[in-house]
């Protein structure tokens, strides 16, 4: 393997990605949004399910 080094000289250079900053960052950004959404969905659903089951249990006990 050749020498591995940071390919950018400055933060601005990194953000610019040559001239392709918009394309690279929008691709990575959209992917991040989808991945985070995919992670959050089951967490939220689980929370919702558990509270729903708990409510119905409480209702059963009170009857």
């Amino acid at each position: 393997m050749g020498d591995i080094a940071i390919q950018f000289s400055s933060l601005a250079d990194f953000l610019a990605m040559g001239t392709h900053g918009f394309y690279v960052w929008s691709a990575y950004g959209i992917s991040a949004v989808v991945v985070v959404g995919n992670v959050l969905a089951p967490i939220l659903r689980r929370r919702e399910l558990i509270s729903a089951i708990r409510r119905s249990e409480a209702r059963k006990r009170s009857v």
Partner: protein
Amino acid sequence: MYEKLKRFYHQLGSPRYFYHISGHFLPWLAVLASLLLLVGIVWALLFAPPDYQQGHSFRIIYIHVPMAILAQSVYMLMAVAGAIGLIWKMKVADMLAKASAPLGASFTLLALVTGAIWGKPTWGTWWIWDARLTSMLVLFFLYMGIIALHGAIQNVQNAARATAVLALVGVVNIPIIKYSVQWWNTLHQPATFKLTEKPAMPPEMWVPLLITLLGFYVLFALLLLMRTRCEIIDRERSSKWVRQLVIAQR
């Protein structure tokens, strides 16, 4: 050994056992996925050398290719799980198949979107009727059909059986679609500049690709287990063990 494996397989078929055992895997998968993705993405964005033709837009490959590969393997997994559910009436397999459909569809969509974004600086247009992108689009349609069919059938068990049949039909068709689209593509446009076909990528380019690919696979396994566990809680909500589980959770 074989007997043990067989027993484990049958135990996995029980939703309660599956829920219990998968709980142990979740933290490890989460740690492994974050580690691999962190290393892979940082390497991809900062350390991988730019492509001599495409420049830095080449870095989109580290998302696009893993997503495209995952989209196809998730479909296969969904079909296999569906077949197991169909033949051996294994409830957990049905739930795995159901849980993998939206994940696969979102990966396919990401592969399409990142492909389009990559195409703009490379080809000069957002969309091109390239063989790979077109068969990805068809794969997305197949996922949408399965999700729509699952949503339309009220009875959970019948929904699982119907989507399993459709997924299997899709598996038979995917290679046919793929080759017909490739054939069509070579007919209509002489081989243009391919996004991913490179003459031997150097290791400092493909090692991070391998790492992100592995990372996304582990992430998928994690998400699949999380979704399946939700599904188990939902379907077994009237059973004693789920009620005890809910009460135990504070």
